[in-house]
Symmetry: C2
Subunit: 210 residues, 2 copies
């Protein structure tokens, strides 16, 4: 665990804090598609992401979904911070986009460390800042862009997250993330293929030039 922690957070946290994290934190490896947190659940700990990616999803009362943003190495879930402080239920669902490694820190330490460590304060505030900015991006995307542009941005982000030009999703899965229907996605993907930006295959999409 110590190597994992240092590699991802060694430059961010001071040594005393790193040691405390080692003492109280628990290391977890989670597989792709594992649901880290679900809507309505209470939060037990705060995840510090070491490797992999987590996707954060909003769901409405009908079960309709919308992808909010991804968390990556060095990120934590601000929604979790919220829940910890306010001890309220989670408003979102977090699913492992790839296999992921993370360190879970008990909620109780949150406030203690906020007082004690400047680096922790910076981390928490930076985390809030990043999350608010991601939310703004999401809002920009649905408010100001049409579906074709949103799909394009989605493919770009997805290939960045997975660090490769192959996107392993069915059209239906993409439709869920963007909160639209499979037919709409198939239609728009076909257009992107026709202008040479992607190649369509069963169960995966190959990025040519976005």
């Amino acid at each position: 665990m110590i190597h994992q922690l240092k590699a991802s957070y060694g430059a961010v946290f001071e040594n005393d804090l790193l040691n405390e994290i080692l003492q109280v934190g628990t290391f977890k490896e989670i597989p792709e598609n594992y649901t880290l947190m679900d809507i309505g659940e209470y939060v037990k700990g705060m995840p510090l992401l070491v490797s992999g990616a987590i996707k954060v999803i909003r769901e409405d009362h009908n079960g309709d979904e919308l992808l909010l943003y991804y968390l990556e190495k060095g990120d934590t879930c601000s929604m979790t911070l919220n829940c910890c402080m306010g001890s309220t239920k989670s408003e979102i669902r977090a699913i492992a986009e790839t296999d992921a490694k993370l360190i879970m820190v008990p909620v109780q330490k949150m406030e203690e460390w906020t007082v004690k460590y400047k680096s922790w304060r910076n981390f928490v505030f930076l985390s809030y800042q990043n999350r608010l900015n991601e939310m703004l991006n999401t809002i920009d995307s649905i408010a100001f862009f049409k579906m074709d542009m949103r799909l394009l941005a989605y493919l770009k982000e997805k290939s960045r997250i997975n660090a490769g030009e192959i996107i392993q999703n069915t059209h239906q899965e993409i439709a869920y993330d963007l909160h639209t229907s499979r037919v709409v996605i198939s239609r728009l993907l076909k257009k992107l293929e026709q202008i040479g930006k992607i190649e369509l295959h069963r169960n995966y999409i190959k990025i040519i030039d976005l």
Copy 2:
């Protein structure tokens, strides 16, 4: 200023903190429609809202707008918190929805108070929590609801904020807030009038039963 502060924050902050705020804070009264902060500006201070309401707006590169949420008495602007900590430019515009009173606190105190006062920590974290939740509501609204429902929710919220059944806006102004066209708003408002929920007049709308 002391009365204003105690009335709005007396129950939230401990006495020592209230005194510090009185020492370093400056009291401001701002008129309706005053732009408190604009996109791209750097932030000088942190506003603690004492009375009135502030509307927070997002704008895209074309100048298209979207209402994000309102701030009310006891609220502060988390976007400002962000900017203070990260010393980045504002991503949003804040406009006085009504005449408003607020206390401006210099940015430098932020971190100091976070260490020193438990009540300040709670306030800041609660503020982030509220803002993230408002952003989620905004996302729900644009992602999951159609324009007629969004308009209805808008009218409800607006009459709550202004504490009255009269909404003083032109259709064009509503269209800007919801990021659609005037014609669409006029059309939907007319429908709401026909089913007896509102009464349309020049420059104002009377809420009958929402």
